[in-house]
Amino acid sequence: MNEEEPANAELAAAQEALVRAMTAGGPLPPGFDEAGVQVAARAILRKRAGEVARAWPALAASYGRDWPETFARWAAERPTNGSIRDAWDFARAHKESLDRNAALELALTETRFHYDGESPPRPRRMAVRRVPGGVAFQLNGRARVIGRR
């Protein structure tokens, strides 16, 4: 099969080295234009920041104009697992400094899905969480906040 061929194994290793250099802080393989690769890596971070902003608008909004830069700094050596997990991982890492709306967005998501930080999130049947100003309650996919002023 194809995978056994040496040329293909070499290609696989070269592709992985490039992806790690662009997303995980790995060394840049020899021969590439460093400036060009860097510009491309920055463009990917800006794109990821935009996708997170669409998936979790309150999270991005709480950083205002600094959002793309703040996200890019945090994500620079963290390869993506999709925009939902980018958003979720970022929100958990910044839990202490989230504003009220972003904290609520995180808490509501956590009542609806189970996420261990390692594997894809799974829907919860039921959950209760404290949120800013009240309690969020979710049963069979319907979330409600009680006592929020």
């Binding site: 070499e10 491309a40 794109k47 935009g50 390869p79 697992n81």
Partner: protein, 269 residues
């Protein structure tokens, strides 16, 4: 097959797309369509006879690893349920060794890379009920030690696989501008009779390079290149890609009209 001028279907502009009186052709990001609940607006377009092309972005045809069977199956499902005339994907890879790049990355222009692409395109074609068109990407850098010029690499790829080309005019423009080359020169080296349709979009300048972001109006230089292409061989369709910073409807209509005029095709607005 004639497609005419179209626009990429996105949830944010679904209302605008639905109201276009002359629309015969659109495209949807395949990974955004959920098998349980495809968007009703999109199904309505299909039922009205609009040709809907599923456009994949995460298959990684250019990866050294074989394409994932479930991703190919989803493309096939999209083609069946949207009654698509064809499916499109990219000459690119998006992951390697289990690490996601987050975007389309260029492949090396080598024999080994051509072999990997050929194998993956054939695996995909074997499962699809319709033809596959492959799209060369906008690259902000190239791999070292290329064994082929871009035109020769793509020509050999379509000859080997029988795939069609999705030619992105904005990518041709971006690559030529960033490499300091003449964009029309690439048109002369591609098998233009194999172009299924073209993408057109606008971008912006960042860090000294032109980025094909799909968030800006189509530049005049790209429209001029549409004319250049049509003077050589008019493709069946041109599709406007817009992905964010959606302008007011009047501006989008003006862009569609500008593309129709450059391509000497019927206005759809």
């Amino acid at each position: 097959m004639s497609l005419g001028v179209g626009i990429g279907w996105r949830p944010e502009i679904a209302g605008f797309v639905k109201e276009l009186p002359g629309l015969r052709f659109t495209e949807v990001i395949a990974e955004s369509v959920h098998e349980g609940h495809p968007p009703a607006d999109l199904l309505a377009l299909r039922d009205r006879g609009v040709q809907v092309v599923p456009h994949g972005v995460k298959l990684s045809l250019g990866g050294a690893e074989p394409v994932a069977a479930e991703r190919v199956a989803h493309l096939a499902w999209c083609a069946e349920s949207l009654n698509a005339p064809l499916v499109s994907e990219h000459v690119a890879f998006v992951r390697a060794g289990g690490v996601e790049a987050g975007h389309l990355l260029p492949v090396p222009r080598t024999r080994a890379s051509l072999d990997a692409l050929t194998a993956n395109i054939r695996r995909t074609q074997a499962e699809l009920p319709v033809p596959l068109a492959v799209e060369p990407i906008a690259a902000l850098f190239d791999w070292p030690d290329a064994e082929y010029e871009e035109g020769d690499f793509l020509t050999e790829l379509v000859e080997r696989t029988g795939a069609l080309l999705l030619l992105d005019i904005a990518n041709v423009y971006a690559n030529a501008r960033n490499r300091g080359e003449d964009p029309a020169a690439l048109l002369d080296r591609l098998p233009l009779e194999r172009v299924a349709y073209c993408h057109v979009a606008g971008g912006d300048e960042h860090g000294g390079r032109y980025h094909d972001t799909h968030t800006a109006p189509v530049p005049d230089d790209v429209l001029a290149l549409v004319k250049e292409l049509c003077a050589r061989q008019r493709p069946p369709g041109f599709l406007l890609e817009r992905d964010g910073r959606y302008p007011p409807a009047a501006e989008l209509r003006a862009e569609l009209d500008a593309i129709a005029s450059a391509a000497a095709m019927e206005s759809i607005t």
